[in-house]
Protein backbone atom coordinates (compact mmCIF):
# COMPACT_ATOMS: atom_id res chain seq x y z
CA UNK A 1 0.00 0.00 0.00
CA UNK A 2 3.01 2.26 0.57
CA UNK A 3 6.29 2.14 -1.26
CA UNK A 4 9.38 4.22 -0.45
CA UNK A 5 12.18 4.28 -2.99
CA UNK A 6 15.59 5.82 -2.39
CA UNK A 7 14.20 8.17 0.22
CA UNK A 8 16.68 10.73 1.59
CA UNK A 9 16.36 13.82 3.73
CA UNK A 10 19.16 16.27 4.34
CA UNK A 11 19.14 19.14 6.83
CA UNK A 12 22.13 21.29 5.93
CA UNK A 13 25.09 18.94 6.30
CA UNK A 14 23.17 16.41 8.38
CA UNK A 15 21.66 13.40 6.65
CA UNK A 16 18.51 12.51 8.56
CA UNK A 17 17.54 9.72 6.16
CA UNK A 18 19.74 7.89 3.66
CA UNK A 19 18.44 6.04 0.60
CA UNK A 20 15.60 4.30 2.38
CA UNK A 21 13.64 1.58 0.57
CA UNK A 22 10.58 0.10 2.24
CA UNK A 23 7.28 -1.51 1.25
CA UNK A 24 4.30 -1.64 3.55
CA UNK A 25 1.44 -4.11 3.04
CA UNK A 26 -2.19 -3.69 4.02
CA UNK A 27 -3.30 -5.63 7.10
CA UNK A 28 -0.01 -5.51 8.98
CA UNK A 29 1.41 -3.78 12.03
CA UNK A 30 4.96 -2.52 11.62
CA UNK A 31 7.30 -1.64 14.46
CA UNK A 32 9.77 1.10 13.57
CA UNK A 33 12.70 0.49 15.89
CA UNK A 34 15.76 2.56 16.52
CA UNK A 35 17.34 5.02 18.90
CA UNK A 36 16.36 8.65 19.19
CA UNK A 37 17.66 10.57 16.20
CA UNK A 38 17.78 7.51 13.95
CA UNK A 39 15.31 8.99 11.46
CA UNK A 40 12.03 7.43 12.61
CA UNK A 41 10.18 10.72 13.03
CA UNK A 42 11.63 12.18 9.82
CA UNK A 43 10.29 9.18 7.88
CA UNK A 44 6.85 9.42 9.48
CA UNK A 45 6.54 13.15 8.82
CA UNK A 46 7.50 12.54 5.21
CA UNK A 47 4.85 9.88 4.71
CA UNK A 48 2.33 12.13 6.48
CA UNK A 49 3.18 14.83 3.94
CA UNK A 50 4.52 17.28 6.53
CA UNK A 51 8.04 17.45 5.11
CA UNK A 52 9.36 16.86 1.61
CA UNK A 53 12.05 14.32 0.76
CA UNK A 54 15.32 15.73 -0.53
CA UNK A 55 15.52 12.73 -2.83
CA UNK A 56 13.47 9.67 -3.64
CA UNK A 57 9.81 8.81 -4.09
CA UNK A 58 6.86 7.74 -2.01
CA UNK A 59 4.05 5.84 -3.71
CA UNK A 60 0.73 5.36 -1.98
CA UNK A 61 -1.74 2.85 -3.40
CA UNK A 62 0.31 2.65 -6.58
CA UNK A 63 0.64 6.37 -7.38
CA UNK A 64 2.89 9.19 -6.15
CA UNK A 65 1.90 10.37 -2.68
CA UNK A 66 -0.19 13.51 -3.04
CA UNK A 67 -2.00 16.08 -1.00
CA UNK A 68 -5.30 14.16 -1.20
CA UNK A 69 -3.77 11.13 0.47
CA UNK A 70 -3.53 13.01 3.76
CA UNK A 71 -7.18 12.16 4.19
CA UNK A 72 -6.32 8.48 4.47
CA UNK A 73 -3.10 8.78 6.45
CA UNK A 74 -3.19 9.59 10.16
CA UNK A 75 -0.05 10.74 11.92
CA UNK A 76 0.26 10.99 15.69
CA UNK A 77 3.20 13.14 16.77
CA UNK A 78 5.16 12.23 19.87
CA UNK A 79 5.06 15.73 21.37
CA UNK A 80 1.76 16.98 22.88
CA UNK A 81 -0.26 18.79 20.26
CA UNK A 82 -3.32 20.11 22.09
CA UNK A 83 -3.79 23.55 23.57
CA UNK A 84 -3.75 23.68 27.36
CA UNK A 85 -7.22 25.17 27.59
CA UNK A 86 -8.78 22.31 25.64
CA UNK A 87 -11.08 19.78 27.20
CA UNK A 88 -11.32 16.33 25.64
CA UNK A 89 -14.57 17.49 24.01
CA UNK A 90 -12.77 20.45 22.40
CA UNK A 91 -10.10 18.13 21.03
CA UNK A 92 -12.88 16.19 19.31
CA UNK A 93 -14.39 19.33 17.77
CA UNK A 94 -10.95 20.51 16.69
CA UNK A 95 -10.29 17.20 14.93
CA UNK A 96 -13.71 17.20 13.35
CA UNK A 97 -12.96 20.58 11.75
CA UNK A 98 -9.68 19.35 10.33
CA UNK A 99 -10.47 15.83 9.18
CA UNK A 100 -13.42 14.80 7.07
CA UNK A 101 -13.14 11.18 8.19
CA UNK A 102 -13.22 11.99 11.92
CA UNK A 103 -16.04 10.11 13.64
CA UNK A 104 -17.25 11.84 16.81
CA UNK A 105 -19.20 8.82 18.09
CA UNK A 106 -16.15 6.65 17.74
CA UNK A 107 -14.04 9.25 19.50
CA UNK A 108 -16.44 9.25 22.46
CA UNK A 109 -16.44 5.47 22.49
CA UNK A 110 -12.64 5.31 22.51
CA UNK A 111 -12.44 7.89 25.30
CA UNK A 112 -14.90 5.86 27.35
CA UNK A 113 -13.01 2.62 26.79
CA UNK A 114 -9.87 4.20 28.21
CA UNK A 115 -11.61 5.85 31.13
CA UNK A 116 -11.44 9.44 29.90
CA UNK A 117 -14.26 11.94 30.14
CA UNK A 118 -15.10 14.71 27.70
CA UNK A 119 -15.03 17.30 30.46
CA UNK A 120 -11.40 16.59 31.34
CA UNK A 121 -8.91 19.36 30.59
CA UNK A 122 -5.73 18.60 28.66
CA UNK A 123 -3.78 20.79 31.10
CA UNK A 124 -4.85 18.70 34.09
CA UNK A 125 -4.11 15.34 32.51
CA UNK A 126 -1.26 13.00 33.50
CA UNK A 127 1.10 11.91 30.73
CA UNK A 128 -0.73 8.58 30.56
CA UNK A 129 -4.10 10.27 30.12
CA UNK A 130 -2.60 12.58 27.55
CA UNK A 131 -1.27 9.61 25.56
CA UNK A 132 -4.74 8.04 25.64
CA UNK A 133 -6.36 11.28 24.49
CA UNK A 134 -3.95 11.47 21.56
CA UNK A 135 -4.60 7.88 20.50
CA UNK A 136 -8.39 8.32 20.76
CA UNK A 137 -8.31 11.43 18.56
CA UNK A 138 -5.99 9.79 16.03
CA UNK A 139 -7.85 6.49 15.76
CA UNK A 140 -11.30 8.09 15.61
CA UNK A 141 -10.33 8.85 12.04
CA UNK A 142 -10.92 5.85 9.80
CA UNK A 143 -7.44 6.13 8.28
CA UNK A 144 -6.01 3.44 6.01
CA UNK A 145 -2.50 4.11 7.27
CA UNK A 146 -1.83 5.05 10.90
CA UNK A 147 1.59 6.38 11.86
CA UNK A 148 2.06 6.47 15.62
CA UNK A 149 5.26 8.10 16.82
CA UNK A 150 6.27 6.74 20.24
CA UNK A 151 2.71 6.11 21.48
CA UNK A 152 3.96 4.26 24.59
CA UNK A 153 6.79 6.52 25.65
CA UNK A 154 6.78 7.97 29.16
CA UNK A 155 3.46 6.57 30.34
CA UNK A 156 2.62 4.22 33.18
CA UNK A 157 2.09 0.49 32.80
CA UNK A 158 -1.71 0.60 32.92
CA UNK A 159 -1.98 3.37 30.32
CA UNK A 160 0.37 1.42 28.07
CA UNK A 161 -1.83 -1.66 28.34
CA UNK A 162 -4.87 0.42 27.41
CA UNK A 163 -3.17 2.04 24.43
CA UNK A 164 -1.95 -1.35 23.17
CA UNK A 165 -5.46 -2.80 23.54
CA UNK A 166 -6.91 -0.04 21.40
CA UNK A 167 -4.22 -0.52 18.75
CA UNK A 168 -4.70 -4.29 18.38
CA UNK A 169 -8.46 -3.81 18.34
CA UNK A 170 -8.34 -1.23 15.56
CA UNK A 171 -5.58 -2.77 13.42
CA UNK A 172 -7.33 -5.21 11.11
CA UNK A 173 -7.03 -6.61 7.59
CA UNK A 174 -8.15 -3.35 6.01
CA UNK A 175 -5.55 -0.94 7.44
CA UNK A 176 -1.86 -0.61 8.17
CA UNK A 177 -0.16 0.57 11.36
CA UNK A 178 3.37 1.82 11.88
CA UNK A 179 4.45 2.25 15.49
CA UNK A 180 7.78 3.78 16.32
CA UNK A 181 9.26 2.86 19.68
CA UNK A 182 12.42 1.97 21.51
CA UNK A 183 10.47 -0.18 23.97
CA UNK A 184 11.01 -3.57 22.31
CA UNK A 185 9.27 -5.69 24.95
CA UNK A 186 6.12 -3.60 24.80
CA UNK A 187 5.45 -4.32 21.15
CA UNK A 188 6.86 -7.76 20.45
CA UNK A 189 3.64 -9.69 21.01
CA UNK A 190 1.65 -7.80 18.38
CA UNK A 191 4.02 -6.37 15.76
CA UNK A 192 4.05 -8.32 12.48
CA UNK A 193 7.19 -6.82 11.00
CA UNK A 194 10.03 -4.99 12.74
CA UNK A 195 11.85 -2.32 10.75
CA UNK A 196 15.25 -1.50 12.23
CA UNK A 197 16.72 1.93 11.53
CA UNK A 198 20.06 3.37 12.59
CA UNK A 199 21.66 6.70 11.69
CA UNK A 200 19.04 7.34 9.02
CA UNK A 201 19.51 3.98 7.35
CA UNK A 202 17.20 0.99 7.19
CA UNK A 203 19.30 -1.87 8.55
CA UNK A 204 16.81 -4.72 8.28
CA UNK A 205 13.18 -5.74 8.28
CA UNK A 206 12.16 -8.91 10.13
CA UNK A 207 8.92 -10.89 10.35
CA UNK A 208 8.96 -11.42 14.13
CA UNK A 209 6.78 -14.54 14.32
CA UNK A 210 8.79 -16.14 11.51
CA UNK A 211 12.02 -15.36 13.40
CA UNK A 212 10.63 -17.03 16.52
CA UNK A 213 9.45 -20.08 14.57
CA UNK A 214 12.50 -20.58 12.36
CA UNK A 215 15.34 -19.38 14.59
CA UNK A 216 13.93 -19.13 18.10
CA UNK A 217 15.00 -15.52 18.11
CA UNK A 218 13.33 -12.66 19.95
CA UNK A 219 13.17 -9.09 18.71
CA UNK A 220 15.80 -8.26 21.35
CA UNK A 221 18.15 -10.93 19.97
CA UNK A 222 17.89 -9.42 16.51
CA UNK A 223 18.27 -5.89 17.85
CA UNK A 224 21.41 -6.77 19.78
CA UNK A 225 22.92 -8.50 16.78
CA UNK A 226 22.40 -5.88 14.10
CA UNK A 227 22.15 -2.52 15.84
Amino acid sequence: MLECRGLSKTYGAKKALKDLNLNLETGKIYGLLGENGSGKTTWMKMVAGLIKPTQGEIHYMGRPLGYKDKEEIAYMATEPFFYDWMKAADVGRYYQDFFGDFDMDRYRELLGKMGLEESMKAREMSSGMHAKLKIAATLARKAKLCLLDEPLNGIDYKAREEVVSIIVEEADEKNTFVISTHLLEEIESFVDVAVFVKNGELIRTADLEKERIMNGRSVRDIYMEIM
Binding site: V168, E169, A171, D172, E173, E188, I213, G216, S218, V219
Partner: protein
Protein backbone atom coordinates in the same frame (compact mmCIF):
# COMPACT_ATOMS: atom_id res chain seq x y z
CA UNK B 1 -0.24 -12.89 29.59
CA UNK B 2 3.51 -13.08 30.04
CA UNK B 3 5.19 -14.27 26.87
CA UNK B 4 8.43 -16.09 26.37
CA UNK B 5 10.24 -13.89 23.84
CA UNK B 6 11.83 -16.75 21.88
CA UNK B 7 8.70 -18.91 21.44
CA UNK B 8 6.16 -18.20 18.67
CA UNK B 9 3.30 -16.16 20.09
CA UNK B 10 0.57 -18.24 18.44
CA UNK B 11 1.87 -21.42 20.10
CA UNK B 12 1.86 -19.76 23.54
CA UNK B 13 -1.70 -18.53 23.11
CA UNK B 14 -2.90 -21.95 21.87
CA UNK B 15 -1.33 -23.54 24.95
CA UNK B 16 -3.17 -21.08 27.19
CA UNK B 17 -6.50 -21.68 25.43
CA UNK B 18 -6.08 -25.45 25.77
CA UNK B 19 -5.41 -24.98 29.48
CA UNK B 20 -8.65 -23.01 29.74
CA UNK B 21 -10.47 -25.93 28.11
CA UNK B 22 -9.01 -28.39 30.59
CA UNK B 23 -9.82 -26.18 33.56
CA UNK B 24 -13.40 -25.82 32.40
CA UNK B 25 -13.13 -22.10 31.69
CA UNK B 26 -13.97 -22.95 28.09
CA UNK B 27 -16.55 -25.71 27.73
CA UNK B 28 -17.63 -27.86 24.75
CA UNK B 29 -19.88 -25.84 22.48
CA UNK B 30 -18.92 -22.47 24.01
CA UNK B 31 -18.50 -19.56 21.63
CA UNK B 32 -14.89 -18.46 21.46
CA UNK B 33 -13.89 -14.77 21.31
CA UNK B 34 -13.87 -13.17 17.85
CA UNK B 35 -10.50 -12.54 16.18
CA UNK B 36 -10.68 -8.94 17.33
CA UNK B 37 -11.55 -9.90 20.92
CA UNK B 38 -8.83 -12.53 21.00
CA UNK B 39 -6.34 -9.91 19.76
CA UNK B 40 -7.24 -7.57 22.64
CA UNK B 41 -7.33 -10.37 25.21
CA UNK B 42 -3.83 -11.61 24.37
CA UNK B 43 -2.26 -8.43 22.93
CA UNK B 44 -1.59 -10.07 19.60
CA UNK B 45 -2.35 -8.76 16.13
CA UNK B 46 -5.39 -10.00 14.29
CA UNK B 47 -3.27 -11.99 11.82
CA UNK B 48 -1.95 -14.02 14.76
CA UNK B 49 -5.50 -14.36 16.13
CA UNK B 50 -6.66 -15.79 12.80
CA UNK B 51 -3.71 -18.16 12.74
CA UNK B 52 -4.50 -19.38 16.26
CA UNK B 53 -8.01 -20.39 15.23
CA UNK B 54 -6.79 -21.93 11.97
CA UNK B 55 -4.33 -24.12 13.87
CA UNK B 56 -6.78 -25.07 16.60
CA UNK B 57 -9.41 -25.88 14.04
CA UNK B 58 -7.07 -28.11 12.05
CA UNK B 59 -6.28 -29.98 15.28
CA UNK B 60 -10.00 -30.33 16.00
CA UNK B 61 -10.15 -28.17 19.14
CA UNK B 62 -12.69 -25.80 17.70
CA UNK B 63 -14.85 -25.30 14.65
CA UNK B 64 -16.20 -22.29 12.79
CA UNK B 65 -19.77 -21.61 11.82
CA UNK B 66 -19.59 -19.26 8.89
CA UNK B 67 -20.81 -15.80 9.80
CA UNK B 68 -21.48 -16.76 13.42
CA UNK B 69 -18.14 -17.47 15.01
CA UNK B 70 -15.77 -20.07 16.37
CA UNK B 71 -16.90 -22.66 18.92
CA UNK B 72 -15.18 -25.10 21.26
CA UNK B 73 -15.28 -28.65 19.92
CA UNK B 74 -17.98 -30.94 21.28
CA UNK B 75 -15.94 -34.04 20.61
CA UNK B 76 -16.22 -36.36 23.64
CA UNK B 77 -12.57 -37.33 24.08
CA UNK B 78 -11.09 -34.02 23.11
CA UNK B 79 -10.49 -32.66 26.60
CA UNK B 80 -9.07 -35.90 27.98
CA UNK B 81 -6.68 -35.98 25.05
CA UNK B 82 -5.58 -32.39 25.59
CA UNK B 83 -5.04 -33.07 29.25
CA UNK B 84 -2.94 -36.15 28.47
CA UNK B 85 -0.98 -34.32 25.84
CA UNK B 86 -0.16 -31.39 28.13
CA UNK B 87 0.70 -33.70 31.03
CA UNK B 88 3.11 -35.57 28.76
CA UNK B 89 4.78 -32.32 27.86
CA UNK B 90 5.19 -31.26 31.51
CA UNK B 91 6.50 -34.72 32.37
CA UNK B 92 8.93 -34.74 29.46
CA UNK B 93 10.40 -31.41 30.56
CA UNK B 94 10.56 -32.55 34.18
CA UNK B 95 12.34 -35.81 33.30
CA UNK B 96 14.74 -33.93 31.11
CA UNK B 97 15.66 -31.54 33.94
CA UNK B 98 16.00 -34.35 36.47
CA UNK B 99 18.26 -36.36 34.15
CA UNK B 100 20.37 -33.23 33.73
CA UNK B 101 20.80 -33.29 37.52
CA UNK B 102 21.97 -36.91 37.23
CA UNK B 103 18.90 -38.78 38.49
CA UNK B 104 17.71 -42.08 37.00
CA UNK B 105 14.05 -42.96 36.56
CA UNK B 106 13.99 -45.21 39.68
CA UNK B 107 15.45 -42.43 41.84
CA UNK B 108 12.93 -40.00 40.48
CA UNK B 109 9.96 -42.30 41.16
CA UNK B 110 11.23 -42.81 44.70
CA UNK B 111 11.54 -39.06 45.21
CA UNK B 112 8.03 -38.44 43.89
CA UNK B 113 6.57 -41.05 46.26
CA UNK B 114 8.44 -39.40 49.12
CA UNK B 115 7.48 -35.87 48.09
CA UNK B 116 5.40 -33.92 50.60
CA UNK B 117 3.00 -31.38 49.10
CA UNK B 118 3.66 -27.90 50.41
CA UNK B 119 1.09 -26.75 52.90
CA UNK B 120 -0.54 -23.40 52.20
Amino acid sequence: MEYNAETPIYIQVIRDLKKKMIKGELNPGDKMPSNRELAVLYKVNQNTAARIYREMESEGFCYTKRGIGTFVSEEENMFENVKKEMAEEVLRNFMHEMRDLGFQKDDIIFQIADYKEEQE
